[in-house]
């Protein structure tokens, strides 16, 4: 018996196929029913393969996941998303003006962080990646403080130690961003375990991109979450692109990222991440499960990275032409705006006016932040400060090295 030669399957970016987004497994808005939060995990396996959506193409909120936000709260959500985008635009521009070394936008993904934050309570802890600035902006964290971090100036609370956008804000439930991918996923599980061990009521939220689910720590996190059932929400932001590699290279070709939870017995949802209402409703469902001691939930947020990976990246080198224009889930800001207009709670004029106001607010903040220095000029933390915080108390060898540097 003869055998033909074997061949190796190398995934190609799926959207290359003439705007074929069939891998998104789109469901109609309102087409996926909301189960009770204490549902058995094995009863909702289908939710990992469908897509929870609330907003339909006419901007109406439909189905059993709708109705978790008041009109005023939705306007506030729209404002948070617009402010996040205005912030990103300004900071990317400042990088181009060489006021800092690097920047990462979250354009197109604003609904996920902004709506998720609205489902949390003070004291809960996010373990974010570098594209969740909306978690801070949605709770009106001062953007001047964020800008000072990006500019590594003398008011940077990280004392100029971290790459731009690697914020830390304990008071805002925002854990220090590592930059090593996936490492914090399992730490969020540990934090949530600690909360349960202490009889606390606080919950943790882990964040990861679909590309980084290939890392060992993603699987370690799911094992520990499965074994100890701590109050943690395991967020997977599937923005289709891990720098230049499409989600198919991370294992998204054969199954969904949400479905990975099934092997661990963890309930999983797959949600339209560009639908502010769906994001909030799904986040609320998972947070309530966690708070009621029902254990972890994994949520795949399906979205699209409209921006380059970072300011050091050029997507035209790898992203298919028309990939973005044929993207089916639209722009989260436009979709919420259209909904608010459809229900008579918003208008084009008010929208334009709000954008102008936010641009002005961001410009004012940027001027203030720059008055404290930028990476390239003005004040920054003393070089002596880099010897601090390595240990709680500076040991002798670091004191000597600081002296050797001249301080």
């Amino acid at each position: 018996m003869t055998s033909s030669p074997l061949t190796l399957h190398i995934p190609v970016p799926l959207p290359c196929r003439d705007g074929d987004f069939s891998h998104l497994h789109l469901s109609d808005a309102g087409g996926v029913d909301r189960p009770p939060v204490d549902v058995r995990e094995d009863k909702i396996h289908s939710l990992a393969y469908r897509l929870i959506r609330v907003l339909d193409d006419e901007g109406r909120a439909v189905g059993s996941w709708s109705g978790t936000r008041s009109v005023e709260q939705l306007r506030s959500g729209l404002r948070a998303m617009l402010k996040t985008r205005a912030y990103d635009v300004r900071m990317a521009m400042m990088q181009r003006q060489r006021k800092t070394s690097f920047y990462m936008q979250c354009k197109g993904e604003e609904a996920i962080a902004c709506a998720f934050q609205a489902a949390l309570k003070p004291g809960d802890m996010n373990f974010p990646t570098y594209r969740q600035q909306g978690l801070l902006i949605a709770q009106d964290w001062p953007v001047v403080d964020m800008m000072c971090q990006v500019l590594s100036n003398e008011k940077d609370r990280m004392k100029g130690r971290q790459l731009p956008v690697f914020y830390s804000a304990p008071e805002a439930g925002f854990f220090s961003i590592s930059g090593n991918l996936a490492t914090q996923y399992v730490q969020a599980v540990g934090w949530a375990m600690a909360s349960a061990m202490r009889g606390d009521t606080r919950v943790a939220a882990a964040w990861i991109g679909e590309g980084s689910t290939a890392e060992n720590d993603f699987h370690a996190a799911l094992v520990f979450a499965s074994v100890y059932r701590p109050p943690v929400i395991l967020n997977v932001v599937n923005n289709q692109w891990a720098i230049s590699t499409n989600q198919s290279v991370a294992g998204g070709e054969r199954t969904t990222f949400a479905a990975r939870a099934h092997g661990y017995g963890i309930p999983a949802l797959r949600v339209d991440g560009n639908d502010y209402l769906a994001v909030h409703a799904a986040a609320l469902w998972a947070v309530e499960r966690a708070r009621r001691n029902l254990g972890p939930t994994l949520i795949e947020w399906v979205t699209y990275r409209m921006a380059p990976h970072s300011t050091s990246d050029d997507p035209s080198k790898y992203r298919p032409q028309g990939d973005q224009s044929t993207w089916l889930l639209g722009d989260p800001i436009e979709r919420l705006k259209n909904h608010l207009i459809a229900i008579g709670a918003w208008s084009e004029e008010r929208h334009i006016q709000l954008k102008v106001e936010l641009d002005e607010e961001i410009s004012t903040a940027a001027r203030e932040a720059q008055s404290f220095g930028t990476l390239m000029e003005g004040a920054k933390c003393s070089p002596a400060s880099m010897f601090e915080d390595v240990y709680k108390v500076m040991p002798r060898h670091l004191r000597e090295q600081r002296q050797e540097l001249g301080f």
Binding site: R157, M158, R161, S176, T183, A194, M197, D217, P395
Partner: protein, 337 residues
């Protein structure tokens, strides 16, 4: 004062701290119900409950990863890696996360945690149960690295490590868990009860991190050692009859440089002994420090007696292990130089 093995002393340190501070939690593979493959956590789950001492999945990065999260929350996790040889999957969590969290967040977050791991050979463990990876930790800014050589120190150092606000790697030389092994593998096993440093005070006490101990005062040569090698060094001195000063470093980072410099400046000669492989081992750091600080006091070159730069073998264990004969020969050579 009770005489304890190192296992009993370590167990009691955990016991004392779990009673003293309800934020102290102990976990790792087989540590809960069974009490650890070396019995270091025996009885703790029964006494303090399964949420204070529990078994984990076989996932070293998971064990240290959740420990970082727990430490950041405000607990005092003491994680066990079953063998230091298995810590490599956790290395990213130790190096990139635990060690740098305080620095990168400018003190806003920190992860006080202890990672215990049995290390070293001499038990026919071959290359997967014998390694001494201390230099992989001493090279990392933000970590403290501790290796006790006896029950008294093991308990006091472990309590100090648990109370420390920085991440501490606590290496336990498994060959001396049950007795002060001096490298004479062909002689009967000596129990800890015959050794004065098995006298371990009841209750709470600390041996401060960063302080070395002079185990034997001497005039001719300084031997720098830690863990099992302290006992090997003592045996080597007996063997060749040289009046060596033996320093047990106890903590590698932060290093008690003062004690080292004082001794080498006095004797003018130095032998460094460790079980780990030689190239880029901690001995290289010690040699560099000594030449920087004691160069004009040195009468001979600094000598290292170490494991060979090979993986740890099984059948050839005693050819690999830097025993009293090899250390003795180095001492003799140095005194003749």
């Amino acid at each position: 004062m009770p005489r304890w093995t190192m296992i009993e002393a370590i167990r009691d340190a955990l016991n004392v701290m779990m009673a003293h501070d309800d934020r102290v939690v102990v976990f790792g593979q087989d540590v809960g119900r069974f009490g650890g493959v070396f019995r270091c956590t025996d009885g703790l789950q029964g006494k303090y409950g399964a949420s204070r001492c529990f078994d984990t999945p076989i996932s070293e990065s998971g064990i240290v990863g959740v420990a970082v999260g727990m430490g950041a929350y405000g607990l005092r996790p003491v994680a066990e890696i079953q063998f230091a040889d298995y810590m490599y999957p956790a290395y990213d969590q130790i190096v990139s996360e635990a060690a740098r969290l305080r620095f990168r967040s400018a003190g806003e977050f920190s992860a006080p945690l202890v990672v215990r791991m049995p290390c070293g050979g001499g038990i026919f463990g071959a290359q997967t149960h014998s390694q001494s990876p201390e230099a992989l930790f001493t090279h990392v800014a933000g970590l403290k690295t501790v290796i006790p050589s006896n029950p008294h120190d093991a308990k006091g150092l472990l309590i100090a490590a648990i109370e420390d606000d920085d991440p501490v790697i606590f290496l336990e030389p498994k060959r001396i868990y049950n007795g002060p092994f001096d490298g004479h593998h062909d002689r009967p096993v000596v129990p800890w009860s015959t050794h004065e440093l098995s006298e371990t005070p009841e209750g709470y006490y600390t041996v401060p991190l960063g302080e070395a101990a002079v185990r034997r005062e001497g005039a001719d040569v300084t031997i720098l050692a830690y863990g099992t090698m302290v006992h090997v060094a003592e045996a080597a001195c007996h063997l060749v009859g040289i009046d060596a000063e033996i320093i047990d470093l106890r903590t590698l980072v932060p290093l008690d440089l003062e004690t080292v410099v004082r001794s080498v400046s006095k004797t003018g000669r130095c032998v460094i002994v460790h079980e780990a492989t030689r190239t880029s081992g901690f001995g290289a750091e010690l040699a560099a420090q000594i030449q920087e600080h004691c160069f004009y006091h040195l009468e001979t070159p600094i000598v290292r007696v170490t494991g060979w730069d090979t993986p740890y073998p099984h059948a050839q264990e005693w050819d690999y292990f830097p025993g009293p004969d090899r250390v003795g020969r180095a001492l003799t050579r140095l005194m003749e130089a």
